[in-house]
């Protein structure tokens, strides 16, 4: 595991931002940390980067306790955050020139190609750049040294569609040669890049899985019956957002398998005319799980 956290706790005053967070990120994967606002995603990433120190628990990054990350490890880690403050009075070119000597692996050709692809004006001061341009500048400063681990904290926040596209394109070009940990609300973009997903809420991990597993086991199911039907009680395990409209029952099955579904449908419904099973987009999975969590809290 290139990143691993175990029972992380972090509080700000009385607010518990992390409450025993445990995640693990495989080497070479693209791990999407998703969750509602205030779930603790940014705090978790800041703990990983040793910007914040946890009160309890541990985090290891590239095999080192995050609290002991030194220049040697940071030379292999790229970090891009929506709140990142780059020196506003330096131009992009000047800042790249400043960063270059700190990295033995800095690739000038790659730097030029990233600059070009991201359409960054190299001689404009960073402080004069728009938010989107600044995010691109941050990415441009995080890629040329070919990091082993790239940590992206809400990188798409406030970016328009075109900038998002350029950002993603550039990211995907290098995605294969590094591990990516990304937190974002923009699940559509994440879906293209993530191989693994961790769902975090109120400082705790609710689940983590590979995208293949996740999308494979979550299905939107629509059962059409011959006559009117009542919702099964209790609702079978793993069925969420169950709705009944006339003779149609819809739900999201979060533990989908063909055998299991047909067993359950046969058990709970009589006169099944049709069972329609569709894959679910990450966004829908996220909203389904988020709602279920919220309802569960109530």
């Amino acid at each position: 595991m290139i990143v691993r956290t175990d029972d992380l706790h972090k509080t700000f005053g009385r607010r518990e931002a992390l409450r025993g967070l445990s995640i693990s990120v495989e080497d070479g994967s693209a791990y999407a940390l998703i969750g509602p606002n205030g779930a603790g995603k940014t705090t978790a990433l800041r703990v990983l980067m040793n910007i914040l120190k946890p009160e309890r628990g541990s985090a290891t990054v590239i095999g080192i306790d995050s609290r002991r990350l030194s220049a040697r490890e940071f030379a292999q880690i790229g970090y891009v955050s929506e709140n990142q403050e780059l020196p506003p009075r330096l131009t992009v070119r000047q800042y790249l020139g400043y960063l270059r000597p700190f990295y033995t692996t800095w690739d000038r050709q790659l730097e030029q190609s990233v600059l070009g692809e991201l359409r960054l004006p190299p001689d404009l001061r960073i402080g004069e750049l728009s938010h989107g341009m600044r995010m691109k500048a941050a990415l441009a400063c995080a890629l040329p040294f070919r990091p082993k681990l790239l940590v992206l904290d809400e990188p798409f926040s406030g970016l328009d569609a075109l900038v998002r596209e350029e950002f993603m394109e550039r990211l995907l070009k290098q995605a294969g040669e590094m591990t990516i940990v990304i937190s974002s609300h923009e699940l559509t973009e994440i879906e293209h890049v993530a191989t693994h997903v961790g769902f975090i809420d109120q400082g705790r991990l609710l689940f983590q899985d590979s995208m293949t597993e996740l999308t494979g086991r979550v299905r939107e199911v629509r059962v059409t019956l011959e006559g009117a039907v009542m919702a099964p009680a209790p609702v079978p395990d793993g069925w969420m957002q169950l709705t009944v409209a006339g003779n149609v029952v819809s739900f999201v099955d979060t533990r989908f398998s063909n055998e299991r579904l047909s067993r359950s449908v046969t058990k709970h419904f009589k006169g099944v005319r049709n069972v329609d099973v569709r894959p679910v987009a990450l966004r829908s999975i996220f909203t389904t799980l988020a709602r279920a969590t919220r309802d569960g809290e109530r």
Binding site: R46, M49, N50, I51, L52, K53, S70, A71, R72, E73, F74, A75, I77, Y79, S81, N83, Q84, E85, L86, P87, R89, L90, Q94, Y98, L99, P101, F102, Y103, A138, C141
Partner: protein, 524 residues
């Protein structure tokens, strides 16, 4: 990578550094051009304000350098870059030394050279001021910059600290509760500055380590707050402790061991000199005989603790005389100065002035009491004598510095000023001699003791100054000066300097004394 980080900071801040350097330079040139007697008070004021501005510039520039790579922030890009904390600290220190301190040193050096001092003397003076500014301005700004992330935040914290200091210390403690500092207004007040300086150096080392290696901002801020409190508290250090430290630092320890004080009622009541204004309030004049004072020496009171007790030893009043009591009198009013004009061993008789609160005197004046006085004294030895023209002098005098004289605007006194990159005397007597040397005026004396082992010039420049007026005409007609305006041409100033050599404490107990017998009618 130190040099690399430094280059980045220089690229970002060179304009601000140049602006501050230009202010330093302007001050140096302006003050040199104005000379020792500035013809234009307005320009002299401008030079002083610019000098203040340059110190503020030093602090702001240091803060700005620190904020380029702020530590407390969670958003700064450098926190996740492969930058070694030690490299960052060293780069910031290099910036401070090269772009903040060095221009100040060069400006002070230039001013010293323009004033006609030798290169070593000017360089030494500039170096001493540089270290002082480093300790009093730059290092605190460095520390402040390490625990804040923007200039605005720094200003807000500084303003809040100032308000807190004024509210809690000045208003709460000093004004409302009448708590007085123990060493303020004495030759020992340098101890507060020394505490500030030593805390600035050690605090910088500790806070930089905590911030750059552990990013322990909360702990660092707590330490800074505690350090600030410790500096304030150092002004309240117990007098005896402070004086014991001073005694250990004496340049000629033991030289005052023969000095003895005794109650000497045979001296009679104090007679106020004709025409002299009576001090306000109730003043006790205690007749003393001081023996063992070496020739050409003087003994000066630093502080006296006065205790009045009844026959049973119960304390009826306790006070101290180095500062005014009940707002009456001043530091100079309570001064006891014993000057040996004869040979060593000749006793010197003096009256010691003790200011008593009126209510205390009203209660105790007519009853026999025991008077105890704990004296903390300093022995000064005559150091050097200098002679220079009373009017129109502008010369370098070895040991004294560059000195100039002229008549004051009212035509009643000779103004003299001496500047030196080293220390100028803080205690001296000055008298006027006519051109033949046969006539001389009574000595005028000045002593503003500062027992600091090192000079710490902060503002307005690196030069230490001595400024004094030697009178030769009394417009009230009370004093007749042999060397008056008619003989001032060709007259010379004779300056005798005194340097502190040893510090001593003596206790005096007088039993069965009736205070009313020693209070002059003028004083009531």
């Amino acid at each position: 990578m130190v040099w690399h980080i430094l280059k980045k900071d220089v690229r970002l801040l060179w304009r601000a550094a140049a602006a501050v350097a230009i202010i330093h330079l302007t001050v140096a040139v302006l003050r040199s051009w104005l000379g020792l007697f500035p013809e234009s008070p307005q320009l002299a004021l401008v030079a002083e304000l610019l000098s203040l501005l340059s110190l503020i510039g030093v602090a702001i520039l240091t803060l700005a350098a620190m904020h380029q790579d702020a530590v407390p922030s969670v958003r700064q890009d450098w926190l996740t870059r492969p930058i070694k904390p030690l490299d960052m600290v060293l780069a910031k220190l290099c910036f401070v030394l090269l772009l903040v301190q060095a221009p100040l040193f060069l400006a002070d050096l230039l001013q010293g050279l323009l004033q006609g001092f030798s290169l070593p003397a000017a360089a030494l003076g500039a170096a001493v001021r540089n270290v002082t500014v480093l300790c009093f301005f730059t290092l605190p700004a460095l520390v402040f910059g390490a625990v804040t992330h923007s200039l605005m935040e720094s200003f807000a914290v500084a303003a809040a600290s100032l308000i807190l200091y004024l509210a809690v210390f000045l208003v709460g403690t000093v004004i409302l509760f009448g708590v007085r500092t123990s060493i303020g207004g004495t030759g020992l007040s340098w101890i507060v500055g020394a505490c500030w300086g030593s805390l600035a150096i050690s605090g910088t080392a500790v806070v930089m380590r905590l911030q750059f290696f552990r990013r322990a901002t909360r702990l660092s801020r707590a330490l800074i707050f505690t350090g600030g409190g410790a500096v304030i508290l150092s002004a309240f250090v117990p007098w005896h402790l402070a004086f014991a430290v001073q005694e250990r630092l004496a340049t000629d320890p033991g030289s005052a061991s023969a000095v003895k004080l005794s109650f000497y009622p045979e001296l009679g009541p104090f007679q106020l000199p004709a025409g002299a204004a009576a001090p306000r309030g109730t003043v006790l004049y205690v007749p003393l005989r001081v023996s063992g004072v070496p020739s050409s020496a003087l003994v000066l009171l630093d502080r006296a603790t006065v205790r009045i007790a009844d026959r049973g030893g119960r304390t009826l009043y306790e006070g101290r005389t180095n500062l005014s009591v009940d707002g009456v009198g001043s530091i100079l009013d309570a001064r006891l100065e014993v000057r040996q004009r004869g040979e060593t061993g000749t006793p010197v008789d003096v009256h010691q002035r003790i200011f008593l609160p009126a209510a205390v005197y009203a209660r105790l004046g007519d009853r026999p009491v025991t008077l105890e006085i704990d004296e903390s004294l300093t022995l000064f030895r005559a150091e050097a004598r200098y002679s220079f023209p009373a009017i129109g002098a502008d010369m370098h005098i070895a040991g004294l510095g560059r000195c100039a004289t002229r008549m004051d605007h009212h035509g009643v006194a000779v103004m003299m000023v001496c500047a030196n990159p080293m220390r100028v005397p803080k205690c001296f007597t000055a008298e006027l001699l006519d051109s033949s040397g046969a006539l001389h005026n009574p000595e005028s004396e000045f002593c503003d003791p500062n027992y600091s082992p090192v000079r710490a010039p902060l503002w307005p420049d690196a030069l230490d100054q001595l400024l004094w007026a030697v009178p030769f005409f009394d417009s009230r007609g009370l004093v007749h000066y042999p060397v008056d305006g008619s003989k001032i041409d060709g007259a010379r100033v004779l300056l005798q300097t005194y340097e502190p050599r040893d510090h001593l404490t003596r206790s005096l107990t007088v039993h069965e004394i009736r205070l009313a017998d020693f209070v002059t009618p003028h004083g009531i």
